[in-house]
Every structure is written in structure tokens, then in C-alpha cells.
Subunit: 112 residues, 2 copies
């Protein structure tokens, strides 16, 4: 596999569902994503060959949310707040060690 | 590496830049993304272990846009219209062969 354009490409689900179903934005996902983007920038980790933090639409793991996924390694996380994001940045993005306590498995049901 | 939750996770940049700078939405990226999502659904390729087609914010390759990226393989494409997306679905997603004529290299400049 060729080198990825971004070493780590992070996608935060910031979807707001209509009709009251559980969704990531219920937990203020946009605020936490903005925090993550700013933090990565402060740490000079942004740009080609480094890290990109993106908004994304519904990633379809609503019942496990709020969720984010990091590619190309395809590691999924559920987080609560900025402290969790700090840990993901420090351990996963900086040290290359997934944060097992926040990691989502692949056995979870598809929610819709 | 463990198996990816989605075999192919497709992110379309649907960003609309302020101020008149070139961006993917200039080329009606949202329309083409919606087309791709519907097409993949019609082909029964959606869901866990299969394909997911997402909206994403600015992927920061604006000057090469409109762009999409497919993970975990980290293959980037620039497309013009639905015909290009059909080819990406047929060759890349169904047959596992990247569409070289639409593929973006990793040597492109960062645009901002």
C-alpha cells in the first residue's frame, strides 16, 4: 500500500438526526471536533503527511456515539469530552498507540 | 491490521468555501455524492463490512477538486460527474481495481 496523503485522517461524526433518534451531535460532537482540530493545529501536527481532522456526516454507528474514526488504520473511538480527545491525540496520534479504553470493536450492531 | 468496519469508506468533500476560493462544491459535489450514495444502495453494497458513502468537510485538496478519498486503502480521486463515479464504483468498489485515470497522486501541493 502506498503512503497515505495524511498519516492520520480523523473523521468526527457531527450528524444531527431528525426525529429525535440518538446521534453524535446530541453530545456536542461539533464542539469537540473543533477542539480537536484546534489542538492538532497548536501542536503543529497538521498538513500533508501529518494529521487532518474533518467533519463528517453520519457514520452510522449512532448507538455507540459520539464516534470518530481514524484512517488509514481504521480505528474507531467513542469519546465523552475533550479529555478523551486529548488522550487520543497524545497516545494514538503522537505515540502511535491506540487508546483501548475508548476503542470500538467491529462486532457492534448496525444501528439503522 | 484488523479488518475495517467498512470494507470501503468513501468520503466526498462537499465543502463550500467562503470568499470565492476554488472548492469542491463549485462542481456540485453534494449532488454527485448523493448520486453515489444512492447508487451504492441500489447495488446492495451498503452496511457493515461493505461500503459507506459519507459527506465530509474540506479535505484540503481544493485545487485538485472535486475530490473524494476511499479508506482504508487511502486512494484519492478527482471526478467530473456521475459517469466518473460510476466507473469508480464499478472498478474500484466492485472489482478492487483503482481507476488510474482519475486517481490523485500524493505529490500535489497543499492548497492552504
Amino acid at each position: 500500500m502506498q503512503k497515505s496523503y495524511y498519516s492520520h485522517h480523523v473523521f468526527f461524526c457531527v450528524n444531527q438526526r431528525d426525529g429525535g433518534g440518538r446521534c453524535c451531535q446530541d453530545n456536542d460532537a461539533q464542539r469537540v471536533r473543533n477542539y480537536a482540530k484546534d489542538k492538532v493545529k497548536q501542536l503543529n501536527m497538521t498538513g500533508k503527511g501529518q494529521v487532518r481532522v474533518n467533519n463528517a456526516g453520519c457514520l452510522n454507528r449512532c448507538s455507540e456515539g459520539p464516534v470518530l474514526v481514524i484512517y488509514p488504520e481504521a480505528v474507531w473511538y467513542s469519546y465523552v469530552n475533550e479529555d478523551d480527545v486529548d488522550e487520543i491525540i497524545r497516545k494514538h496520534l503522537q505515540q502511535g498507540r491506540p487508546v483501548e479504553r475508548l476503542r470500538l470493536g467491529d462486532s457492534s450492531p448496525v444501528t439503522r
